[in-house]
Point group: C2
Chain length 403, copies 2
């Protein structure tokens, strides 16, 4: 326990959390959540005036938000493509004209690791400032063993410089790089035989992900890559059924992946497959919003089928240039028709499950990591409701106040 740790958060107004014993969301009022050794220890209805406690001043306390799907390792922003899209070009048209992910790949290969670390550090600190205390961070703009390793090292270095807790994902199969356009099998062999062993050997990634989608990687290719990743000790994630239903969700469930992400085009079979598995459905409504699409992931169908849902930003320079989790809660309520409580669950314990860390992160409960946010609002419904301005009052990570 460091010198800057607090003994707890006191004078709480409302506190809201997933309760792992009751397996349900819980809403409490008043009192103090005590902390010890960086973890929550117990709740007491008393409040304390002691300056070693953080005073919530009667405001809302939630677990730190968990952003379980981000792409922060990019070299340059792509605002010109954003303007082109608004004037009528589609994402696919821009990609075919040399924009899109391939644009980011050229830039990522050119940038120095030193510069990349700085960029990622700035982005992680902005996430933290807006309430995210844990983030999953993907590589995927390098598309060569060298550039993917550079990305993952940069994420690790940047992460060590911020209090935000990160877990990395190898996404070498984000796209097929230009130099292997006509020889995709060779690139897949590089991922399987070179990239995955190297990343695993240097312990640079906890997870491996594939963009399983029509025009990107087929389910057969995805399975080949992810079987190799599993053999090297990585857990599995999927970009699945974003534009077309191609069996990605079904494959994710069958392979026991931690999560299947996007799912705007998931089929009824896919929903059933997820419901019968432990795979989490990670929904990214910011991407639908940013692309100006009307196709929202079928959150209600997934929830009603009993699937665990996570919400995340998909922060990336092409299809969602935003790292605000509170805004994702707003989209989830308005456009996915989730209740504010369901949305908050999905942004904390649901997200933790999608990262395999649900036993110790994402809940205000004894023994869980003491990550919390005090918000300048009275109750949890106001979080998604009062949107567009930063409502964070204070962030606590591992019992240490950050702001």
């Amino acid at each position: 326990m460091s010198n800057t740790s607090i003994k707890g958060i006191t004078n709480i107004g409302q506190w809201v959390t997933w309760n792992p014993e009751k397996q349900a969301m819980e809403v409490g009022n008043g009192g103090t959540w005590l902390m010890e050794n960086g973890l929550f220890s117990e709740y007491t209805p008393k409040s304390f005036m002691d300056h070693e406690f953080l005073n919530a001043h009667g405001q809302l306390m939630t677990p730190g938000l968990i952003d379980s799907h981000t792409h922060p390792a990019f070299a340059t922003t792509r605002e010109l493509e954003f303007e082109m899209r608004s004037q009528g070009k589609t994402y696919q048209e821009i990609a075919e004209a040399g924009g899109g992910i391939r644009n980011s790949v050229r830039k990522l290969r050119e940038i120095s690791e030193f510069e990349l670390v700085d960029l990622i550090e700035t982005r992680l600190n902005l996430m933290l400032k807006h309430g995210t205390t844990t983030a999953e961070c993907k590589s995927g703009y390098g598309l060569s063993t060298e550039a993917e390793l550079k990305s993952l090292r940069a994420i690790r270095t940047a992460s060590q410089r911020t209090p935000l807790q990160t877990f990395s994902t190898l996404l070498g199969a984000h796209e097929v790089p230009d130099e292997y356009r006509d020889d995709r099998n060779t690139y897949i062999d590089i991922i399987v035989n070179d990239m995955i062993p190297a990343v695993s050997g240097q312990k640079l990634a906890a997870y491996c992900d594939v963009f399983c989608e029509e025009g990107v990687y087929t389910t057969q290719e995805t399975e080949k890559i992810l079987l190799a990743a599993r053999e090297h000790g990585m857990q599995l994630k999927f970009h699945a059924d974003e534009f077309v239903s191609s069996g990605g969700a079904e494959l994710a469930a069958r392979m026991g992946a931690l999560s299947a992400d996007h799912l705007m085009a998931i089929s009824a079979t896919g929903i059933t497959a997820l419901a019968e598995s432990d795979t989490v459905a990670t929904l990214l409504p910011g991407t639908t919003f940013f692309l100006g699409s009307n196709t929202w992931a079928p959150a209600r169908k997934l929830l009603d089928a009993g699937v665990t849902v996570a919400l995340a930003t998909d922060f990336n320079p092409g299809s969602n240039m935003s790292l605000s989790m509170p805004f994702i809660l707003t989209l989830a309520v308005i456009y996915l028709h989730m209740t504010p409580l369901e949305a908050l669950q999905a942004a904390t314990s649901g997200a933790a499950k999608s990262m395999g860390i649900e036993k110790n992160t994402g809940s205000i409960s004894p023994g869980f990591k003491a990550d919390a946010v005090v918000w300048q609002v009275d109750n949890y419904r106001q979080l998604p409701y009062f949107y567009g301005s930063n409502q964070v009052h204070q962030i606590v990570v591992g019992a240490e106040p950050i702001l």
Copy 2:
């Protein structure tokens, strides 16, 4: 000129503004905008190290944003209705069940003026923190002479406590209050013969506005109220054609109103009428967004017809609980298909015209009020593109730095 005034903003990266001489947007790079007596004086390509200048560190400088349509004088938030809507109730159904504007009216009448001032002050400061330096503020939740006067006095007092410049609007005709449901003509007589003279006598409002819409006020009723307002020296604004095309835009143009606002349902005739007038079309895409609607105002048709467009938040507790102008720029680009430059024009000089202050506010030009924002981005396209987190680096109002 106060002791805290700066001599200018120096080391600018990119600066973007409406140029009133060229009648076009202008994008410049580098140098310094000098200030004198609270106004911009001249531009020089030189930069200065003097600490009496604000150093922009090579970042983007824009005019202060102008939010030309807000409803900040409300007593309580309405997050429960927000949740109900997400679970399938419509805005109209909630209004008929006693929610909506009538819910806000009951609460506004109960709250003390002292408490209301505090609430408005907090909201104005949040606007300022997110880049808004001038705001139009409406009454309209009182719906009695006493409660409308209370609202307008509270706006004035709150405004005096913040650097944000506000202009007030009497919106006594926001709804018909419950006690006159069956006797609406009596309420209209009260507005005309009691409310308008009282507000005008105490110089509490620059503008008068009416919710001209099917089920609220007819065009005949609107005309009667606004003729009275004009006789008392107020300029005119309209809530027009939000849900149904009922001739509101046409009437606004015919009466020489400063602006017709909302316009999601404007007819072709309405667009032509605005194009042939000086009336500004004020678009409020945050409301479409927050109501989960797919009906966006026809911005491109308005722009292509030559209508001056303004963008504003419509900040209010029922149909858009957000005071972020940068987010409105994002919506304008993605959903109204405006270019980033058109959106920025609409949020500065277009908005100024909708408030009749375009001769001295909303432009970085000699003689204009020295209101500006330095943003943590490189260029103007990044403003709407990198959304959901607050990109403000520094705010300057009347040559004084605020943050």
